[in-house]
């Protein structure tokens, strides 16, 4: 199958000095089983895959970590600080993740509200500043507020990750204007993280011109995660291609596509 990507010129995505061909990043949570997860990651074409830091289960010491399945030589492991509600906790998790020895990147989350899982931007900025000083490449999960995004860039974040809509909601891109504005004003990559529900959401998100998209539940909670991962791969490519192609202007009135000259007399 020929895809539009072969006819467009695009640059690879570079974050914190690392270059990636795929603009789609995927999570590893909530899959029905590890085999489905592995096939979905493969189908998504993602090179960056997120993981979480949690306690080892002591009563099942043979229980395998996600690293038993993911090959860190083939994929780029991006540890998150999901579940952290304070800057101190998020920094603690980031430091533990770095000690695992794969890279110094962290997807920094400081959550401020249990119902919406919306970020605590004050805590986020505080943690981002410290972690950047400690040499981390910080990818900051934030809301769609431009000023916060600018502050995160000033703090030295390697990428800023505004949400499309709340984590796991599947509501799609609720505020395209704000996300577009963030992309226009920032110099570091803008990766939309969270809220995508289906392929059209991914496509519309990429059409805003953002550098990439990260999703987990939309793939993992689909009826067929592997097929949805493939759909998301194509939608991300399609949205990026449409952005680069430059869409036609919108009009409030119709304009005929066929000539108005040469019509027969009535």
């Amino acid at each position: 199958m020929t895809t539009a990507v072969e006819t467009i010129r695009d640059e690879p995505l570079t974050i914190g000095g690392r270059t990636f061909q795929s603009r789609l990043m995927v999570g590893t949570g909530k899959y029905p089983d590890m085999d489905t997860m592995m096939r979905a990651i493969e189908a998504s074409g993602a090179e960056v895959v997120t993981v979480a830091v949690r306690r080892v289960n002591l009563d099942r010491s043979k229980e395998t970590s996600v690293l038993h399945f993911l090959d860190p030589k083939r994929i780029f492991l991006l540890a998150n600080t999901a579940g952290c509600y304070t800057a101190a906790d998020a920094m603690r998790y980031a430091r533990l993740a770095r000690e695992a020895g794969f890279n110094d990147f962290v997807k920094l989350e400081v959550i401020g509200d249990e119902e919406t899982l919306l970020p605590d931007v004050a805590g986020l900025l505080e943690a981002a500043k410290v972690l950047v000083q400690e040499g981390f490449k910080v990818l900051a999960y934030t809301n769609e507020d431009l000023v916060t995004a600018l502050r995160l860039e000033d703090a030295g974040c390697a990428a800023v990750m505004p949400l499309a809509s709340p984590i796991g909601s599947g509501l799609g891109l609720l505020n395209p204007f704000s996300v577009r504005t963030i992309k226009r004003r920032l110099h570091v990559p803008v990766i939309v993280d969270a809220g995508v529900g289906t392929a059209s959401d991914a496509c519309v998100t990429m059409e805003q011109g953002v550098d990439g998209i990260l999703m987990n539940t939309a793939i993992a909670a689909a009826q067929d995660p592997v097929a949805m991962a493939q759909a998301m791969r194509l939608a991300t490519i399609a949205g990026r291609a449409a952005y680069l192609a430059g869409r036609m202007p919108k009009r409030e009135v119709a304009m005929p596509s066929s000539p108005i000259k040469g019509m027969l007399d009535s």
Binding site: G27, T28, G29, K30, Y31, M37, T50, V51, A52, V53, R54, R55, V56, L58, S61, K62, S65, V66, L67, L77, A79, N80, A82, R92, R95, L96, A97, E99, A100, I167, A194, L214, M215, N216, T217
Partner: protein, 66 residues
């Protein structure tokens, strides 16, 4: 000797190092990150750090997440 590992009370051999504790739990030191009383202990130092009564030890690894 009583310590707390991942929030659970546990018995370990008196004089044990962190590496010994991992051995008792049948955990591969390459597969976990160790925090001892809130301080990360790097892998090469695990055999040098002795565990004391009441210490808090956290053993973490990567799991699926978004």
């Amino acid at each position: 000797m009583d310590v707390v590992i991942n929030g659970e009370p546990r018995r370990v051999t008196p004089g044990a190092s962190l590496l010994d504790v991992l051995g008792q739990l049948q955990l591969d030191p390459r597969a976990v990150v160790v925090e001892h009383n809130r301080r990360i202990v790097r892998r090469p130092a695990l055999g040098d750090v002795k565990v004391n009564e009441g210490d808090a030890i956290e053993l973490v690894h990567f799991v699926g997440g978004g």
